[in-house]
């Protein structure tokens, strides 16, 4: 009986000691988590104020990102969304710190890997953001320039420009995330090269008669206008 009793008591004792040793870690982890929640709330509030002072919403609107986000269902002002992001990042960081305070080897390994990967995620987000910004800026600039030059296909060309820049940004972001590095690059090269080739072939062969007819019509019109005195303006604008 004594042997059985000793056999049961010893593991219990070990378990008890382990629990007692773990409890302070758990307590610290919980404390860190609660502190993280409070700090997240505080930082969210402070950053919201800072973003408003810096007129981030206005910059976002100007850059055309509000429209892009609205299409994706994000309706709130970007200052609110960014301050929420700050809050959630703070909570995430404190969860990670709290988990590491538990000193569980498996969790520590996973966290280490996650931490090493995080910069890639941020870089990818930045690349995507830059892609959206540049895509909007250049497509708008091209649209205005082409409209001012009287080119009817201005809208189409501007949209193609935006999509091309976005595709390029997505490819770079995926490469940054190490997702299908080679296959993404190959796919990008195939899609882009294919699109260019398709355009060239289409223009060279498939639409040849239409292009010919179109150019002939334009030349005829130009000739007629010359004859009719419908020349360009001779107005001195200044």
């Amino acid at each position: 009986m004594n042997g059985v009793g000793t056999g049961m008591v010893e593991p219990s004792g070990v378990f008890y000691r382990m629990v007692m040793a773990f409890l302070p870690n758990l307590f610290v982890a919980l404390l860190l988590f609660v502190a993280g929640l409070i700090l997240a709330k505080l930082l969210g509030f402070i950053f919201l104020r800072v973003f408003r002072v810096l007129k981030v919403d206005r910059f976002w609107n100007r850059a055309g990102i509000r429209e892009v986000l609205a299409r994706g269902g994000v309706k709130r002002p970007i200052s609110v969304e960014l301050s929420r992001l700050v809050s959630w990042l703070t909570i995430l960081i404190f969860i990670v710190i709290a988990l590491s305070a538990l000193h569980i080897p498996f969790i520590e390994t996973v966290l280490a890997r996650t931490f090493l990967y995080l910069p890639n995620v941020f870089a990818a987000i930045l690349i995507l953001l830059a892609g959206v910004l540049l895509g909007n800026f250049f497509s708008r600039a091209i649209l205005i320039a082409l409209v001012n030059s009287g080119i009817r296909e201005a809208g189409l060309i501007a949209r193609i420009t935006r999509v091309a820049i976005l595709v390029f940004a997505v490819t770079m972001a995926l490469e940054q995330l190490d997702i299908g590095k080679i296959s993404v690059l190959i796919a990008f090269a195939i899609i882009f090269g294919g699109a260019v080739l398709a355009f060239a072939l289409a223009f060279g062969f498939a639409v040849q008669p239409y292009v010919k007819a179109y150019l002939e019509k334009r030349m005829e019109e130009a000739g007629r206008q010359e004859g009719d005195g419908e020349k360009g303006d001779r107005i001195d604008h200044l």
Binding site: N61, V147, N148, G232, D233, H237, L238
Partner: protein
């Protein structure tokens, strides 16, 4: 040497050699070999006729012409250095390349510095592409400065009713409503300045010469600076203005962007001045306007309306960001109308310009995008104006321009209010 100095060593040596001059006449040029000889002839004759006793210098600031402009100047003037011609005065000609961004403004900067360096009492600047300049222009631009004590002399021309449309539909009404002085040709291109006025321009901040002021923005900049800083301003009737067509590579959109952009930038600079101005007043006018024969001008109304329609179909969403829904909705309806019913009213046009100014001020969208997107709107307004004034003589056209100016004046409180509130148009 001063921080803003742009004169080359050779020209500074020339300045030392000249010493003092009473009058400087500046001629900015770029590929004007076809006209500059005539301009120089008129200037020299004007100086000899009107100011025979004055020491005068003609400065040609050239932007690197490749058509023999500089050679033409040298051939016309020879190496005359104050040939006394039996009088105490006389004149000489200086040819210098200008430094900085290629453009008329950079040429002006060189001329301003030169005028300051020789201590000129009066400075006149005339374009090198003029075909209608007469010796009387020199008297008209310099006389009010030397005899009347004015600091700034704007030109007043007889022009074809379709000419100067940026002036007539935007710059004149806007400048007049903002600063309260009725300078009819604020961006005429030919001006007279007093010595202190030229010095004021030359001593401007360095970054001014990196902006559109260095290009087409120079004209509105000198005019606005003179008015807003309370210099003594007047205008002088010079007759008709006929000049060579502009370089086709310089498109309308760029011209509009530079001129209107400079006007909007000046609204930022002189915000405290124009916000306080209410009403407008005539300025003193020298010379008596008379009728002159003008060359016919062709206006392609159909082409302009097509550009407007294309703009409306492609840029309406962009315009809505600074013009608002109501205005854009009207523009869309207008785009659907035929040539006979095509009419863009003064009130709406005024609102478009004011809302664009506020849009640029509060950076509703990228400023260059905003300004360049105005081109189709301007085309629409010009087409509407041409249709409206088809049967009008010059006096009737002038009445219509006056009506537009009054619309700008009437709506100014709206501009002041929205500007101060820095309001963006609600999405």
């Amino acid at each position: 040497m001063m921080k803003n100095a742009v004169l080359t060593k050779e020209i500074r040596d020339k300045v030392r050699e000249i010493g003092h001059a009473d009058i400087v006449v500046g001629i900015p040029s770029y590929n004007n070999a076809g006209t500059i000889g005539r301009v120089l002839g008129a200037v020299r004759e004007g100086l000899a006729t009107h100011y025979p006793r004055a020491r005068s210098v003609v400065v040609n600031a050239d932007g690197g012409s490749r058509d023999g402009t500089v050679e033409m100047v040298k051939m016309t003037c020879g190496d005359d250095v104050f040939s006394p011609q039996g009088r105490s005065g006389g004149f000489c000609t200086v040819v210098t390349p200008y430094q900085g961004i290629p453009g008329k403004g950079s040429a002006f900067r060189t001329i301003f510095e030169f005028a300051g360096a020789v201590g000129a009492s009066a400075l006149a600047v005339v374009d090198a592409d003029l075909r209608s300049i007469t010796p009387g222009w020199i008297g008209g631009l310099v006389g009010p400065v030397l005899d009347g004590g004015f600091d700034y002399v704007a030109p007043l021309y007889k022009r074809h009713k379709y000419d100067g449309t940026i002036t007539n539909s935007i710059i004149y009404p806007l400048t007049r409503a903002l600063y309260g002085k009725r300078v009819r040709q604020p961006i005429g291109g030919d001006f007279g300045f007093s010595g202190p006025m030229a010095r004021r321009f030359f001593l401007s901040e360095e970054d001014i010469w990196e902006s559109d002021v260095a290009r087409y923005g120079i004209d509105i900049w000198v005019t606005t600076t003179a008015i807003a800083e309370d210099f003594k301003v007047c205008q002088s009737f010079l007759g008709s203005k006929i000049h060579d067509p502009k370089d086709p590579s310089e498109d309308l959109s760029t011209m509009l962007y530079q001129v209107v952009g400079a006007a909007f930038d000046l609204m930022e600079t002189y915000e405290t001045v124009w916000e306080r101005v209410s009403g407008t007043e005539k300025i003193e006018t020298f010379g008596t306007p008379y009728e002159v024969a003008l060359e016919p001008v062709h206006a392609n109304v159909r082409g302009m309306i097509e550009r407007f329609r294309l703009g409306t179909s492609q840029l309406a969403d962009l315009w809505q960001k600074f013009l608002g829904k109501e205005a854009v909705s009207f523009l869309k309806k207008l785009a659907g109308r035929g040539e006979r019913e095509f009419f863009l009213p003064d009130d709406l046009w005024t609102e478009i310009i004011y809302r664009s100014a506020v849009g640029a001020h509060c950076e509703a969208i990228n400023k260059e995008h905003l300004l360049r997107s105005l081109t189709p709107l301007y085309m629409g307004r010009t087409a509407s104006f041409v249709i409206e004034t088809e049967q009008d003589d010059s006096a009737e056209v002038e009445e219509k321009i006056e009506r537009l100016c009054l619309a700008f004046e009437k709506k100014k409180p709206f501009l002041v209010e929205t500007w101060q509130e820095n309001k963006e148009v609600p999405p």
